[in-house]
């Protein structure tokens, strides 16, 4: 069975993929459909959804177009999710790979380092980091990455530990391949599927984390993200439910979609471990 056929067997994953594609399309089409800055105050504030042409989702506290914000926000939320996950992978994968492959005191040292980061409560650390670096896209991305790499390192380490004594790895060692080659060519490709699955969930978590930071007023004020929109709208949740409702639903759907896709990837990449069995 092809990869996609296996993936598509999980109906939820297919739904997730479709949602995700729609969101990605939103992100890409945003500048075309709403060429004006989402920050522009274009109409009377607090316009309810569907009450006026051109403002299908109404306007916010300052008369900005919610639909425009939502579409531009898709881009930002996805970007933050993807970039912070990539950074977390860049930290976690090499650490985990080295710890898992070499073992011994190197492993000990790196794992203590990882544990150290896991001992400080995650969200609290993220808040402190953003506050210290002052909120901006890059500081948020970095903070999210810093609190989310330890699980990656642990996963990669566990995978490497189980794979490093696989016979094909030993065979590679026997024919004289260098450690670097073995790590990159023999083991890493075989750890990709669990990493991909984990990464898809991490993107989701990162989006949630960004929105939580924004909720506490630690978002980047220069970009229209969904988290920002909820954070800004929460004070008016009573008189204008749609302001936090739509970005809330957008986050919900994105995170949901990413999870569904993650499950589908899990099924498709690890058929033996598939949940259906």
């Amino acid at each position: 069975m092809s990869f996609f056929a296996r993936f598509a067997q999980n109906r939820g994953a297919l739904v997730g993929l479709i949602i995700l594609l729609v969101i990605i399309a939103m992100a890409i089409l945003a500048p075309l459909l709403f060429p004006e800055s989402p920050w522009r105050m274009v109409q009377r504030p607090f316009l309810p959804p569907l009450s006026q042409d051109g403002f299908p989702l109404g306007t916010d506290t300052m008369g900005r177009n919610v639909a425009s914000g939502l579409m531009h926000g898709a881009w930002v939320s996805l970007l933050i999710g993807l970039v912070s996950t990539s950074v977390a992978l860049l930290i976690g994968v090499p650490l985990g790979a080295i710890a898992g492959y070499y073992g011994g005191w190197i492993d000990d040292l790196l794992m203590r380092f990882t544990e150290f980061f896991q001992t400080i409560p995650n969200f609290a650390l993220a808040i402190v980091l953003v506050a210290i670096m002052q909120p901006s896209i890059s500081s948020i991305v970095l903070a999210i990455a810093i609190v989310s790499w330890p699980p990656v390192a642990r996963l990669v380490r566990a995978e490497f530990m189980s794979l490093r004594n696989r016979e094909y790895v030993e065979a590679a060692r026997l024919v004289g391949q260098s450690n670097t080659t073995i790590i990159l060519r023999q083991i890493l490709p075989n750890t990709l599927s669990p990493i991909i699955v984990l990464a898809s969930l991490m993107v989701a978590t990162a989006i949630l984390l960004e929105s939580a930071l924004s909720f506490l007023g630690l978002g980047d004020p220069n970009v229209m993200s969904w988290g920002y929109m909820i954070g800004a709208a929460r004070t008016v949740i009573r008189q204008a439910w749609w302001l936090s409702f739509f970005p809330g639903v957008a986050i919900l759907l994105t995170v949901l979609a990413l999870n569904l896709v993650g499950e589908g990837l899990d099924d498709a990449l690890n058929p033996k471990l598939s949940r259906e069995r």
């Binding site: 001992t119 400080i120 402190v128 009573r238 986050i251 919900l252 995170v255 999870n259």
Partner: protein, 326 residues
């Protein structure tokens, strides 16, 4: 006794980790712009240089950083967490005043999420590929994907404002003068919304984990053995599948329990719960270093304590660990 010695070893290691965390956090906080003196001065609405100097001298902020670090660390070694710059109260007292509320909230949410999560997860595992099972999983996924603060806000709007069933914020009704049972009931009422909100997310995690873990365990050979004995499916599920499936959940729960203190920041903020998470956020905004470091110390200590408890529980649940199998 072996146990006692090993626990001592663990505690010793924990102390080292805690010290490293203290130092790490101390250095981290130094990077933050602004200092407590400037903020206090700023809040005063009028401040001159003399005022600032007075404050800095008083807080020891005029000293070189290594002196400050040394003072702080040696203070911690004597379990002296110093005074809150902003509130002028010993940090230890502040934390102790707030910790019970956090523990009550997170403890309730933890137990709630664990119990409900395991129940829901088991039900979903038993109803795999059936609509009811899928419904449970879909709900779990939705709870997992919904931002926590959003649920919190919505639940306040619905249950407190529109329906008026439950109080919206705080730990108890101030000024009502409840004591004894009435007070407990009052606190319980206040606890419902924040604890449920906090529990939902974690419940979703446990539900998914339990289901996966149960399906996993159900594939094991010993389950086939149990079936070959002619045991009823309900007994197999409970005694063989669930018990084994719980092992990974213990590990996860231990991790979560420690992290919940951090996760409660949002819930505590929305529900005005006078807990340690909120105190941390305030301390951070106010650059109340001593308080912030103290809270970090305690929350890290909690994580470590929970790790040790987890290991103990695990070793009780899994004889292989206790008896030293490979």
């Amino acid at each position: 006794m072996v146990y006692a010695r090993l626990i001592l070893m663990r505690l010793f290691k924990a102390v080292i980790v805690l010290f490293l965390i203290v130092i790490f956090n101390f250095l981290l906080i130094q990077l933050a712009p602004g200092d407590p003196a400037a903020i206090l001065a700023g809040q005063a609405g009028a401040a001159d240089q003399e005022f600032l100097n007075q404050l800095r001298e008083r807080f020891g902020l005029d000293q070189p950083m290594y002196v400050q670090l040394w003072r702080y660390v040696s203070g911690i070694a004597m379990l002296d967490f110093g005074y809150s710059y902003r509130l002028g109260v010993p940090v230890f007292d502040l934390i102790m005043a707030r910790l019970p509320a956090t523990l009550l909230l997170t403890g309730t949410a933890f137990v709630l999420s664990l119990v409900l999560g395991i129940v829901a997860g088991s039900m979903a595992a038993a109803r795999v590929k059936k609509p009811s099972g899928s419904l449970i999983m879909a709900l779990a996924l939705v709870f997992y994907a919904t931002p926590l603060f959003w649920v919190a806000l919505m639940s306040v709007v619905v249950f407190s404002v529109y329906l008026g069933w439950l109080p919206a914020y705080g730990l108890y009704t101030v000024g009502a003068g409840h004591t004894g049972f009435a007070l407990a009931l009052d606190i319980a009422k206040h606890l419902v919304l924040p604890a449920t909100t906090l529990a939902l997310f974690f419940m979703a995690i446990y539900t998914r984990m339990t289901r996966t873990s149960m399906l996993d365990a159900a594939q094991q050979d010993y389950v086939k053995t149990a079936r070959a004995k002619g045991l009823k499916p309900s007994i197999i599920q409970r005694r063989h599948v669930l018990r084994n499936a719980l092992l990974p959940i213990i590990t996860l729960a231990g991790l979560q329990a420690g992290q919940m203190v951090g996760g409660a920041i949002l819930t505590e903020t929305v529900f005005a719960w006078p807990g340690i998470g909120r105190l941390m956020f305030e301390a951070l905004e106010q650059r109340d270093y001593n308080l912030l470091l103290g809270i970090f110390f305690f929350s890290a200590a909690l994580v470590i304590v929970f790790n040790i408890i987890t290991d103990l529980v695990y070793s009780l649940a899994d004889p292989r660990i206790k008896k030293g199998a490979a």
